[in-house]
């Protein structure tokens, strides 16, 4: 950017030493917990056993990292405390998440979002969801790498000189080095390692951010002085309603508050895997609620604070921090001004580690989608040779690790799509506005509307995307009616408010398709045995989509082509897909959570009586072939449990957060109170230590 001051070689040798020591410690910590990864279930889901607080801290590291110090400090520096808006607008969606999506993902045992689309709709819906979701995840990884690169560049010299060789430091070069380190860590650690390193990093991150804000206040002479230095407009928690185009309330409300929040809670496989790693649904709710109600407001200060302090310094001491400092470098520059050598290194290490944590989670999650939605279906299609479960698990674990490497490389390539935006914030906003709506609308209507059909979901994907492409091509005509008075920036038109247009067109296509289901069924009944007509209709649909995607024709022609996609695609899907609304929605919509619970319990009615947890010591017995555990009749009474109910058995030391635990089923009671009989496999999987007491809790 012209007229913007950029920095290089910030920091001292001591800072670099602190950073290297920090990274070595975090990687050792992660590797230690990596040894608990024994299967793909552990690699991806951590074995569904962790307590809420562990998951909350893990979400902090992921959320704060992804929404990054860099971009919020940049917006804090440019626009003041309204940079906090993104952290404080998630609660509206929470009823949908806590009592809609969360129980469904846990009880239906879906491993990925595309798998949900197959169960709820059809294999073709899964295929399209996989493509869109992989684009979404890889794009997210790209944003993470871009932020990492931008955070590190100010600390690096303009070039390295080795012998007679000069190696210039570039953004892409820094990103590639970071990607290699990140890839190594996630490839060998897996989800358990990520969750435990996140626990450490989440806490350190909050501490480092708050410490930096505190140091900034001290530097400025106290909170009162800081507050007085900020103009009124920069003290306010909201941006102006509709200006400027690069940071306005209305656009950000739709892009982040609605599309972004649904995307984050419902579609972010990394976050969903966190909730799947919780020991039960209620713990998941606690983790989510504590995160949004208590941690997010703190995080808003943590990530934006450096920008606010920077703004105050630039007012009081423009010679120390120039008002035209590059916004994406503000965090690093401010940290260097107010923190002493060594402390600056620690803050930077925490920042970079948090970003790595986000990227790690996303890589791990994308690998889960690859294994679940590409590797396994392809293997099934190829009719693989007969192997034991253990062998298959080993093969999948290897494939997951290879996939992690491939995804890391794709993430680096994805940076190219975003690196020309003025700030990371705008790149991320544009990305969210564009990729989230079709998936968010599809999953949302799928969960909450029983009548939402496979034809409707595929029309939402294809017809919605066709109309979104037209919106991107003709923003002045199509997006302008939704603009809330926001001026159009010709270089990046309607970066945020396009989310509203995209959500409206995707929802509109989905709703219209459902409302016309009767007509589609009538036509489909007449053409479903006439292959030539079906082929012709498919060709019309594909050609129409291509006309829109490639921009073949005038505006009117492209609008007509998009309309054809919306009309023809549902007809083809209705004629070629077998779908039973009762069967396909059982346990997969908010209207049948009880059915989901029964399915989760293997078809038996859930036991929803209270009961109290019971402390027990364990004794080894031979495997009964059913994998059950056995408690005394007295203990079963305290638990209000019956044989066949689900049980969670955990090491009594609460600070382990459920690391040493198993899920099982109650067997017939015995008469030795305070003792649980377990087999060798359960002891091994639960990592139970000799002589250590456990606690048994009834699940349902």
């Amino acid at each position: 950017m012209d007229g913007v001051t950029t920095f290089h070689s910030i920091g001292s040798s001591l800072d670099w030493i602190v950073m290297i020591v920090y990274f070595a410690a975090i990687m050792l910590f992660g590797s230690y917990f990596g040894r608990y990864t024994k299967s793909t279930s552990d690699f991806f889901f951590g074995g569904r056993r962790f307590a809420w607080w562990l998951i909350t801290m893990s979400i902090v590291a992921t959320g704060v990292g992804s929404h990054s110090f860099v971009k919020y400090s940049a917006k804090g520096f440019e626009h003041g405390m309204s940079s906090s808006i993104t952290y404080l607008n998630d609660w509206f969606i929470f009823p949908f998440f806590l009592f809609g999506w969360l129980p469904i993902i846990v009880y239906s045992r879906v491993r990925s979002i595309p798998e949900y689309f197959e169960k709820r709709f059809s294999p073709s819906a899964r295929f399209l969801a996989t493509i869109l979701l992989l684009l979404y995840m890889v794009g997210y990884i790209g944003i993470g790498f871009l932020t990492l690169g931008k955070a590190l560049i100010p600390m690096l010299p303009e070039a390295f000189h080795l012998g007679g060789l000069t190696l210039p430091v570039t953004l892409m070069g820094a990103i590639i080095v970071v990607a290699i380190v990140t890839g190594i860590y996630i490839t060998f650690g897996g989800q358990t390692a990520v969750i435990f390193t996140d626990l450490a990093q989440g806490a350190i991150l909050l501490f480092a951010g708050l410490m930096l804000f505190g140091l900034g206040l001290v530097y400025l002479g106290g909170f009162h002085h800081f507050w007085d230095l900020l103009p009124v407009g920069w003290r306010l928690p909201f941006p102006d309603f509709n200006k400027p185009p690069d940071f306005n309330f209305a656009g950000i409300f739709w892009q982040d508050g609605i599309a972004g929040t649904i995307g984050f809670l419902f579609l972010n496989q990394g976050l969903i895997m966190r909730f799947m790693a919780c020991k039960n649904v209620d713990e998941g709710r606690k983790a989510a609620a504590v995160n949004v109600l208590l941690v997010m407001p703190l995080s808003a200060i943590v990530v934006g604070g450096a920008g606010w302090i920077g703004k105050a310094i630039s007012v009081a001491h423009p010679n120390v921090l120039a008002p035209n400092t590059s916004p994406d470098q503000v965090f690093v520059v401010v940290a260097n001004i107010i923190a002493s050598p060594g402390v600056f290194g620690f803050v930077m290490a925490a920042l970079v580690a948090a970003l790595m944590s986000t990227v790690d989670t996303l890589i791990n999650a994308t690998a889960a989608i690859f294994i679940n939605d590409i590797y396994r279906p392809v293997k099934r299609f190829l009719k693989e040779r007969k192997v034991t479960t253990r062998q298959r698990d080993r093969e999948e674990l290897f494939a997951a690790r290879v996939a992690s490497v491939g995804i890391t490389i794709l993430g680096v390539v994805a940076v190219l799509a975003f690196k020309n935006f003025p700030t990371v914030y705008e790149a991320h906003g544009y990305f969210h506005s564009t990729l989230t709506p079709p998936l968010a609308v599809a999953v949302f209507l799928g969960i909450f509307w029983k009548r939402f059909t496979p034809a409707a979901v595929i029309a939402t994907f294809l017809g919605g995307v066709a109309l979104m492409i037209l919106g991107a091509r003709y923003p002045g005509i199509l997006i302008a009616p939704f603009d809330h008075g926001i001026a159009m920036n010709p270089d990046h038109p309607f970066s945020y408010i396009r989310a509203l247009y995209n959500t409206v067109v995707c929802s509109g296509v989905g709703v219209l398709t459902v409302w016309t289901t009767g007509w589609q069924r009538g036509v489909a009944a007449r053409v479903k045995d006439r292959t030539k007509i079906l082929v012709a209709l498919t060709a019309v649909g594909v050609l129409s989509f291509l006309v829109v995607a490639m921009g073949w024709g005038s505006f009117e022609v492209e609008i007509l082509a998009a309309a054809l996609v919306v009309v023809v695609i549902p007809l083809v899907v209705t004629a070629t897909t077998s779908y039973d609304e009762e069967e396909n929605t059982r346990g997969l919509t908010v209207w049948s959570i009880d059915a989901a619970k029964r399915m989760f319990k293997g078809g038996r009615t859930p036991n929803e009586f209270g009961g109290e947890p019971v402390p027990v010591s364990w004794k080894l017995i031979d495997d009964d072939g059913e994998g059950r555990i056995y408690l005394s009749a007295e203990d079963m009474e305290t638990l209000e449990a019956s044989p066949g109910d689900l049980v969670y058995l955990c090491d009594r030391r609460g600070w382990l957060g459920g690391l040493k635990s198993i899920h099982s089923v109650f067997g017939e009671p015995h008469d030795e109170p305070g003792v649980v009989f377990v087999n060798e496999d359960q002891v091994e999987h639960g990592l139970f230590a000799e002589g250590r007491p456990l606690v048994a809790t009834k699940e349902m």
Binding site: F96, F99, A289, L294, V315, A316, G610, E699
Partner: protein, 118 residues
Amino acid sequence: MYSTHLAAAGGALYDCPMSYFSHSWLPFIYQYGLGGIIFIIGIVLTLKAGSFSPRTNAKHKKWLSILILGFVWYLVMHGAWILAALGHEGWAVAGGVVVMVLAVITTWLTFHRSRGAV
């Protein structure tokens, strides 16, 4: 590192005479009006679907309180923040006290053990 003179200069530099309505209460009304409608739809929908049953399940009853208190907590926090930014410190402090009370109640509710299905 700071002088009152600079604060005054900073204020004068940036505080041009203008209404802050589009920067404060308009976004506030939009966020909690539209967001509130979405929030209520979420509660009503999950209640009607039966996945959320505070009448019969003690744990869900607790969650209903947390959801509503959470909404109020954000609303009061943003309101107090705007008042503080606009110079109405007294009202802002009152709002801050309400926020603290809500935080304590919500935290207690979240971790208070109640019986019922998960």
